[in-house]
Amino acid sequence: MKPSSRIPRRAFITGIASSAGLLLAGCSQTDPPTYGHLLRMGDLLTYKAHRLLLPAHSLAREYEYADISSVPAIGTTNPANELYQRLLANRFADWRLTVEGSVARPRAFSLDELRRMPSRTQITRHTCEEGWSAIAQWTGVPLRSVLEAAGIRSTARFVQFYAYDGWEDGIDMLDALHPQTILAYGMNGRDLPTSHGAPLRARVETQLGYKSLKFLERIVVTDHFDDHGRRGLIRNGWSWYAGI
């Protein structure tokens, strides 16, 4: 075997070591922050790669009615605080979803108002970050319609969700305007059960289950990234983007 035909290993190994540092150069201010953390840089690389390489707004697989499966209810299954209990006792007649922030007409929607808007029903797979999956039918109003009804501004970049169980999280505008991103009030043909986030939960079908917040209370449209401080997942070591 002629030595000349082989990969020059010594040069190769020393070259790799010196060029690796150049790969993770800086990104713009509107991206999720990395805090100089190597794992968050990996998350950011995945997010940027998905946004660059994947076609926008392609639909997640929708299943047949017969495919509907059992669904474990995890996380908060009842926000046991006084405010939520009062709303629940009144069958959410006094419940309102406020939509504010970077919108021309901040407003509050009652459950009936949301139900009267054009709805979307989809049978999709809930993919939990733990590794399990479940298929259910969700009925709700596209988040896009709600944002448009509130007059979303052209500078808006992110949508933040606030829930009665204390959860807060956000998604970018691409996922927020996705046709399958809905605010669901129905599950498998019935009202959304308490354990699955009554009266209203988000369904973000292009990301893992933990981005689909239950027990929605408030939506805030922002022009900039919000890490939600100590309440935010990203501050607690979880990836903000969960399209994986």
Binding site: L54, S70, A73, E129, G131, W132, S133, A134
Partner: protein
Amino acid sequence: MTLALSGFLILMVHPRLYLGHAGNDLMPALLTLPISNNYRPDELHGRIVFTELPNAPVSAERNYPLFNKNGWARSLHFLAAWILVGSGAVYFSLGVFSGHVRRDLLPRGGELAPRSLLQDLRNHFPPRAGPTGAGLPYGLLQKLAYASVMFVVLPLMVTTGLTMSPAVTAAYPFLLDVFGGYQTARTIHFCGFTALVLFLIVHVVMVIATGFGRQLRAMTWGSQ
């Protein structure tokens, strides 16, 4: 190694494997692995039935604390996966263009005859140290092991991994059809993990058995 360890941590959070698209604690598992205490179906309570039909799907709540290190384990898994894909791409292009793949890795036509396969298999029993050093041609079984890892198992790990991504399968739904669903892809991903760990163990044992220091020099800096 990083991928194997972080993958194992991720598996510990839900140590049950299924076939098809849906699989969870309320459904029968294909395989339950005794690697964590996270599977306790008896402790799911508050069952509600979704429809009145027989065998109707149900919902239930979990009330036990979950072992879950997925926050960092998953981010680490994907960071390592990016490095695997990057170095894999470099290896493939260098291997193909330098002729390493064709010359050293792929078995030649005649070598795959049952007779020569049997002969090489017989040569391994009883085990004995053969000649070592850089530049020696790979043995037949060695070729098959390396080639199947590089061209079958690792590409399968990447593609089944992508099939578990909601954003990727929204863009390329055929992945779900190729592997028969999200949970089947996850199960194949686990089988690939097992195969790679076995390969690694055999590989390291063989390296040690045939002279650790000499083999390590041959692998990194080439022949002395």
